[in-house]
């Protein structure tokens, strides 16, 4: 079989969006996936497409990526099973300090051309009656959206396979110049290799400072308790971005099915699959503290996902100089779904030499190579 121009390692939304973008650029692509499309972090993801504003670089990629998602959904390119819900995000302020933080965020987002507005306590109660009283207000980001990532991965895989993309049902166990070694002992040569295997990418790239940041989610039964937006506490910003220790934050998402998806937690415990009951208990209790009606909703299932986390909370998108011909597309932590379309466009532009959609510099993986060198 002929070698593809590009071999994409990883059949999650990031890898498949990248494969699709490359194909649209006229490149022959093969995808290697050990399980099935969406089986990894994509299958555990919340599916919240959200603009985050920790840094100008984060805003820039989220803004571009969200616009691409909206165009994708509006253009009818994704199936109904993708459960698109343009519900927007409410960032909840419980006290004066959070109100001030919200005011700064509204300013930062508006400056970046993102619609955002402040809702006072009364407007918030109207917008989201299920919330407890006594909140100071909230920042509404109306153009954020919610989707069901496994169905998107499946649709992308179906599309790629229908277009003749070679799908390799194997696990990559090692890399060598210009080729990937598979678990069946064979090797696939390619002009370039894109590593989009989420947190598992670290196993293929010695010294890549990428760690799995574990998260728990709980989904409820279908319920008449209605939540109209993705709800996140602004306190999330204080707790969720520290690398050490476990943290939780109130984060509830309405699903198109009528279920509620309850998050969120972050831990650095490797790929431990055992559910942390205390953390789940605290996460759920926090959800009840914000939306009291959740207390009487039946809980259906808990699961764990492993987000690929980097030291500076920005993704790794671009060539990896230590392995010529190898590109990295991971490190999005909890924003892999959000950032996937722009990640794909950046990788495609890099490989084809075309104009990138946004400045790729802040995401180039070589920025973490010195960390690697220092460590070894």
């Amino acid at each position: 079989m002929n070698s593809p121009d590009v071999l994409v390692v990883g059949g999650g939304v990031v890898g498949l969006a990248t494969a699709r973008e490359l194909r649209l650029a006229g490149i022959t692509v093969a995808v290697v996936e050990a399980e099935f499309a969406g089986a990894g972090s994509t299958g555990a993801a919340m599916g919240h497409v959200v603009v985050m504003d920790d840094s100008p670089a984060q805003i820039a990629i989220c803004r571009d990526a969200r616009a691409r998602w909206i165009a994708w959904f509006d253009g009818g390119g994704l199936p109904p099973a993708a459960d698109h819900d343009p519900c927007g995000t409410l960032w909840l302020a419980a006290n004066e300090a959070e109100r001030q933080a919200a005011a700064r965020k509204v300013g930062a987002l508006q400056e970046a051309g993102i619609r955002a507005e402040w809702l006072d306590a009364r407007a918030l109660a109207d917008a989201e009656p299920a919330l407890r009283r006594g909140l100071v207000g909230a920042m509404r980001v109306p153009d954020d959206l919610v989707c069901y990532p496994p169905a998107i991965a499946r649709a992308l895989a179906d599309e790629l396979i229908a277009q003749g993309v070679r799908w390799i049902d194997r696990r990559v166990v090692g890399l060598e110049p210009g080729a990937a070694r598979l678990n069946d002992g064979t090797r696939v040569a390619a002009g370039a290799i894109v590593l989009a295997g989420g947190a598992q990418t670290a196993a293929l790239v010695p010294g890549l400072p990428l760690v799995p940041r574990r998260g728990h989610l709980v989904i409820t039964d279908r319920t008449p308790v209605r939540v109209r937006h993705q709800l996140i506490e602004l306190g999330y910003l204080d707790t969720a971005h520290s690398l050490g220790g476990a943290s939780i934050a109130f984060n509830v998402q309405p699903r198109r099915t009528g279920q509620l998806l309850i998050g969120s937690s972050r831990e650095l415990v490797g790929f431990d699959p055992a559910i942390n009951r205390e953390l789940v208990g605290r996460m759920l209790s926090r959800a009840v503290a914000f939306v009291p009606g959740i207390a009487r909703v039946p809980a259906s299932r808990t699961w764990i996902g492993f987000r690929p986390a980097t030291p500076d909370a920005l993704p790794l998108i671009g060539p990896w100089p230590a392995l010529p011909g190898t590109w990295i597309a991971t490190g999005h932590e909890g924003l892999g779904i959000t950032m996937a379309p722009t990640t794909a466009a950046l990788i495609s532009a890099g490989i084809t030499g075309k104009e990138p959609p946004i400045d790729p510099a802040p995401y180039l993986p070589d920025r973490v190579m010195s960390t690697h060198a220092d460590a070894t």
């Binding site: 319920t223 009487r296 039946p298």
Partner: protein
């Protein structure tokens, strides 16, 4: 065993006090316990707490399995219309 009065969609109904809510609903000729996503009627399959087909709203709590609940005086239950 003495009878009790339960409310089915707000209507008081008298049933024997030592039967399950699933049995009580069938006694009242209620054959639809829930409706599926295509609005088709569903009713108990396993009758022993496994299948969740008998989910009804009891005293305001959704998702209660009628086959595991014994009726009691004053119990309220919401079911779809047959």
């Amino acid at each position: 065993m003495i009878d009790v009065v339960i409310r089915v969609n707000g209507v008081p109904r008298r049933v024997p006090g030592d039967i399950t809510l699933a049995a009580a609903l069938w006694r009242l000729d209620q054959w639809t316990f829930r409706r599926d996503q295509h609005d088709a009627p569903r009713a108990p399959l396993c009758a022993m707490g496994i299948c969740y087909e008998c989910r009804v709203t009891v005293d305001g709590v959704t998702g209660v399995r009628a086959c595991l609940v014994q009726v009691r005086e004053g119990l309220t239950v919401e079911v779809p219309h047959d």
